[in-house]
Amino acid sequence: MTDVTTDIRPAAGRAGLVSRLAIVRVPVSIVLSALAVLFFVIAAAAPSVLSTHSAFDTDLLSSLTPPAADHWLGTDDIGRDLYSRIIWGTRGSLLIGVGAMAVAFAGATVLGFTAALAPKWVAQPINRILEILLAFPTLLLALLFVALLGPSATSLLISVGLGTTPGYARLIRAQTLKVKQSGYVEAARALGHPWQIVFIQHIAPNAFRPLVGLVALGIGQSVVWASGLSFLGLGVAPPSPEWGALLEAGKASITVAWWLEIFPGLAIVLVALSFTQIGQYIQDLAEGNAR
């Protein structure tokens, strides 16, 4: 196996996540994924650094140019540089992914903790509702929310977030139930800590620990779902270079300009894959660490 060894051993025997990252050999796939994520983060933060052309200037003379030295990934039907459009579209796509994840985790945290810790008459109805929502496919649920909120970037973010909430809520509930029964929670109670302290000191952090990887995993997923909704015309409207919208716009010329579909699609795949890889890796580390 080709491994990049980043052996920066800490002086003392720290057993935290950070030191684990330092002592273990980091696989090549994770290094590549991290580079890809870094690239997209720069593209989102400062697109002008990476772009070669304007994302919006039209140049009808060079419309539908195939990939070439001048236009790395070709141009669209009104001559806009595709590479630059993808770069400029990163911010929208990533923000929707991260935002959706934030919405999902915020909702899931509240619902999950309540479902695990609240008295039965509160927890039971929440559990039943979560179970009903889980019966719907995520995309269908997201579509439902878009239909209610109307198509826009914000509503896309909220919809994808709410659509993925039930799954995460169940996970957080299960983790919380597990931690609640652990010896250290009982030991803290026996010491005489009030339950709020036990919750903040032990239950919440330990319930989240195995889920940190899921956040990165979820961002990748959300980008895919948001692009899917945009492609269906339910998200960001056309002049914006959001990736799903790029796919949608390129659909018309797919027979003559393959690059208009392939490259935005590759960008989505790359983001989803990188985040998933990193998420999976963090997940494994966290689980390995938690006995």
Partner: protein
């Protein structure tokens, strides 16, 4: 079927090595483990042993001594990362070194049977035990389908399983611990191997069940099977072994006939192992070699122990508690238990698994509220107090669990675990907390250097010391010890028991000492409560209970207990 009479393993004049046909021999056996980073660990260092027909030899030692690795090397199961080397490693003259997996598969089960410690994890939970035994037969191509079916029933009968036809159809989870262990033995001996290697065969079992399993092994010996018994428990070994090999750090430090090793140990480590066993004869004495740990006066001396008119510290009256099982049926686990615990006193609660003793511990800690009856603390409401009132009492009643590691938050180092207990969220103690934590560690026999360690990287004994330090951090008057020494090696257990005795003298603290181990209970307790199926069947002073048990269950428990003293007395008598 409890074979409880304690006999000397061999009343004939013993020779060492015992006479008889040589079956298995190891000369200069060495085993190394290769770690992840390529470094080698030498775990078995030049072990010599030989097993003769119809004899039982025992490998005794504490965890990490290499006894299990030695046994596993004898059946080719040392593991992929192990390097096994020996001057000679032979089964009836055939070498065991460098054999292929398929060769081993033919030998294991047919010529050497291997019995593992825990039947619950060693048996496939989804497979009826009869099928498990049947597979052991069919793997070696033994007999026809019908013959195998009969053989399964016959083997189950041999190991003393009643109603074998019913049991063969049941899954391990449906069997009790003793039946399960016997089913495991049955699968190992179905083909009547000449040699059976039993790795801690009774460690996870209750004492009455242990007696049954030892009886089965004894019958196997009587039928001429040779046995290699691996155990940390000298009393168990004393019942069966002809010869004992004591291992420490991968080396055999002493080997000889059982009578000699037990009654006239030559090596100090053997002596230490024998001394460390708590029992009725060790009461009031130190079990470990080291002295007390008090170097400085850390606590205000406890007030005069005479509180004649004081209400008992803890008083439980007719406590009843039931739980709803997964099948929705409510089962009563504690059926009307009453006890009282005075200041500076130790009350031992003894019982087998499922007797409800741990539930009693949780009720005493007010972590469960009894369905009826109540627990009072110094005459005040405790089990039925309001949460705010309970909060005030909680720091006066501490707890130490069997598994300290699971009672520590995995994100916390020792310092945080202790300072958390010292401050209890009160910032005015925060400045002194770290110093106080260091003092507590010294009190329990550790040093301030342990403050920055992760419990995960400490040894079992060190972890339990940290747990005790946490328990005394709040200056409690009562400490509930729920199987607090059960998971420890005997010499570590001896140190922890000594530490607990020291702390009691120094702090005047009372112990509610819960254990399944009768020897430990007798060593520690002033008074004893015996529990069976949720009922306190007998209560009295430790000597009353142990020397003059009234209830038949207490008598049965005491009879089942393998006692080193008895074995030694018998051996001494027979050699005279």
């Amino acid at each position: 079927m409890t074979t409880t009479e304690i006999e000397s393993p061999d009343s004939k004049i013993e020779t060492f090595p015992p006479a008889g046909k040589k079956l298995l021999e190891a000369r200069g056996l060495n085993v190394w483990f290769t770690g992840q980073n390529g470094e080698r660990k030498h775990v078995v260092k030049g072990v010599d042993l030989e097993l003769r027909a119809g004899k039982c030899i025992a490998l005794v030692g504490e965890s990490g001594s290499g006894k299990s690795v030695t046994a596993r090397s004898l059946v080719g199961l040392a593991g992929d990362n192990a390097i096994v080397a020996a001057d000679a490693l032979e089964l009836e003259g055939e070498t065991l070194l460098g054999r292929s997996d398929s060769w081993w598969r033919r030998v294991r089960g047919s010529r050497i049977g291997f019995i593992l410690q825990d039947a619950l994890v060693s048996l496939d939970p989804l497979r009826p035990v009869g099928r498990e035994i049947n597979e052991a037969l069919s793997l070696h191509g033994w007999g026809t389908r019908q013959m195998r079916r009969d053989k399964v029933l016959q083997t189950l009968t041999e190991v003393g399983v009643p109603e074998p036809e019913l049991r063969a159809r049941q899954r391990p989870g449906e069997l009790s611990g003793g039946l399960r262990q016997r089913a495991l033995i049955a699968s190992a001996i179905a083909l009547h191997p000449d040699i059976v290697i039993a790795d801690e065969p009774t460690t996870a079992l209750d004492v009455t069940v242990q007696a049954q399993v030892l009886g089965v092994l004894k019958q196997m010996l009587a039928r001429g099977t040779s046995v290699i018994l691996i155990s940390h428990d000298l009393a168990v070994v004393a019942k069966l072994a002809d010869a004992i090999l004591v291992m420490q750090d991968g080396e055999i430090v002493e080997a000889g006939p059982s009578s000699q090793v037990l009654s006239r140990p030559q090596h100090p480590y053997t002596q230490q192992l024998i001394d460390a066993i708590p029992s009725e004869h060790t009461k009031g004495t130190r079990l470990s070699a080291n002295d007390g740990v008090f170097t400085h006066q850390l606590f205000a001396p406890s007030a005069s122990p005479l509180f004649l008119h004081e209400a008992p510290l803890l008083e439980a009256r007719n406590v009843v508690k039931g739980f709803k099982g997964p099948d929705g049926i409510r089962r009563t686990v504690v059926k009307g238990v009453s006890f009282s615990l005075g200041r500076g006193e130790t009350l031992g609660i003894v019982g087998e698994s499922g007797s409800g003793k741990s539930t009693v511990a949780r009720i005493a800690l007010s972590l469960e509220t009894p369905d009826s009856g109540e627990v009072r603390f110094l005459g005040e409401a405790w089990s039925h107090a309001t949460p705010a009132e309970q909060q005030k009492i909680r720091k006066r009643i501490a707890v130490v669990y069997q598994d300290p590691l699971s009672s520590f938050d995995p994100r916390w180092r020792v310092s945080r675990i202790l300072t958390d207990a010292i401050t209890l969220g009160d910032p005015k103690h925060a400045s002194r907390a770290r110093n106080r934590a260091a003092e507590l560690l010294e009190t329990v026999g550790l040093t301030a250097a342990h403050l920055d360690q992760w419990p995960l990287r400490m040894s079992g004994g060190q972890r339990q010391r940290v747990a005790i330090a946490r328990a005394i951090a709040t200056n409690p008057e009562v400490i509930v010890l729920d199987e607090a020494v059960s998971a420890l090696d005997v010499s570590v257990q001896a140190q922890i028991l000594d530490l607990l005795s020291d702390l009691q003298t120094q702090l005047g603290v009372s112990y509610l000492f819960i254990s399944h181990d009768l020897g430990v209970i007798h060593h520690m307790s002033d008074r004893v409560l015996v529990m069976q199926n949720g009922i306190a069947v007998e209560q009295g002073t430790a000597d009353e209970i142990f020397y003059n048990p009234k209830h038949s269950y207490t008598q049965k428990l005491l009879e089942s207990l393998p006692r080193l003293e008895y074995a030694k007395l018998r051996l001494a008598a027979s050699s005279r």
